[in-house]
């Protein structure tokens, strides 16, 4: 089941990339397509950040992850390099958990 899902995810990803390269240009000029293209990634990433920070199964919880992600937000705000943001988040989460 997990193998089937893994291969399906890979196939979907490739099909989506190929579809984008193969679609006629005029569709891009549609204002609705442009607006969805601009906003959907932002909304999806925000939803992922929220659930991966606060969800524990089907409950919401405030634990060590919140400190780590909070640190990532602060460092991103200060324009720290990508690597530093990710490593600090892991380090802070690990420290709070000890």
């Amino acid at each position: 089941m997990l193998w089937l899902a893994t291969l399906a995810a890979a196939a979907c990803s490739f099909a989506l990339k190929l579809a984008g390269l193969s679609v006629p240009q005029r569709i891009l000029r549609d204002g609705r397509v442009q607006r969805i293209a601009a906003l959907l990634p932002i909304g999806l990433l925000a939803a992922l950040v929220a659930t991966q920070t606060f969800a524990a199964g089907r409950h919401l919880s405030v634990d060590a992850r919140v400190a780590g992600v909070g640190c990532a937000v602060a460092l991103t705000w200060r324009r720290a390099p990508f690597l530093m943001v990710v490593l600090s988040a892991a380090a802070v989460t690990a420290l709070v958990r000890r």
Partner: protein
């Protein structure tokens, strides 16, 4: 003069290649955390490597593995991954003018369409440099990402509890960093708040994986509403 232009082009090409390598190495570090997280969520080493080689889309892979990690149905993971990968289609719309390829070359180009390669090609002025930036960045990221995935996955196997290293905070931290440059307007902030809010509200009442999908549906609705208002206003201005 011709020689100077030649020199100039060579310098520009060197700069593109250097940037491509830098971006590749940076995403390699992200690949380490993906490998570790994937193993932690219960995927096997082979499945983890197949995802990085064939799915090859950072946030989509994190999304897929995140649903598995939360105990969601594998096919809810596929849907989440596909939604996250869907923006690669939109990059493709931009890139198709630049990469007029058919057959195998188009398939190879399609596989390398990701955030980084698209961003690098959009940052270059001339078509030739944009093409170079796309291919070299795509290849550099592909190599680094896959090597790092294996290293991260093998490393995680030696850890009794990867949570002790704070690896579960890596994905949301990475998403914060990836999302930040896009948060430059009021509608962008509004979308982020709606997306996060809808997902959190859905956590207690829906199975794992669905909160993110619900957020996506709501955001498409918000985007369509917004564009209708804007069209209306432009029509009035035009009239």
């Amino acid at each position: 003069v011709a020689q100077r232009i030649d020199e100039h082009t060579r310098a520009a090409r060197r700069r593109v290649l250097r940037n491509a390598l830098g971006v590749g190495l940076a995403t390699g570090a992200y690949g380490l955390s993906f490998g570790a997280l994937s193993i932690t969520s219960g995927m096997s080493l082979a499945q983890t490597c197949v995802l990085s080689a064939l799915m090859f889309s950072g946030s989509a892979q994190f999304g897929f593995v995140g649903v598995i990690d939360a105990g969601g149905a594998p096919f809810a993971g596929v849907a989440t991954g596909a939604l996250l990968a869907s923006r690669n289609s939109l990059y493709g719309l931009h890139l198709s003018r630049l990469l007029r390829r058919r057959g195998l070359r188009r398939a190879a180009a399609a596989h390398l369409v990701i955030d980084e390669s698209a961003a690098m090609s959009m940052a270059e002025g001339s078509d030739e440099l944009a093409r170079l930036g796309f291919w070299r960045t795509g290849l550099a990221v592909f190599c680094c990402w896959n090597v790092a995935t294996v290293l991260g996955a093998v490393g995680a196997r030696f850890l009794s509890d990867p949570g002790r290293l704070g690896l579960d905070a890596v994905a949301p931290a990475a998403f914060v960093a990836l999302m930040a440059p896009r948060l430059r307007s009021a509608p962008a902030w509004f979308t982020a708040l709606v997306g996060g809010g809808v997902a959190l509200a859905a956590v207690p009442v829906t199975p794992a994986g669905t909160p993110v999908l619900l957020a996506a549906v709501v955001i498409v609705g918000v985007a369509l509403r917004g564009s209708r208002h804007r069209t209306y206003r432009t029509d009035r201005e035009a009239g």
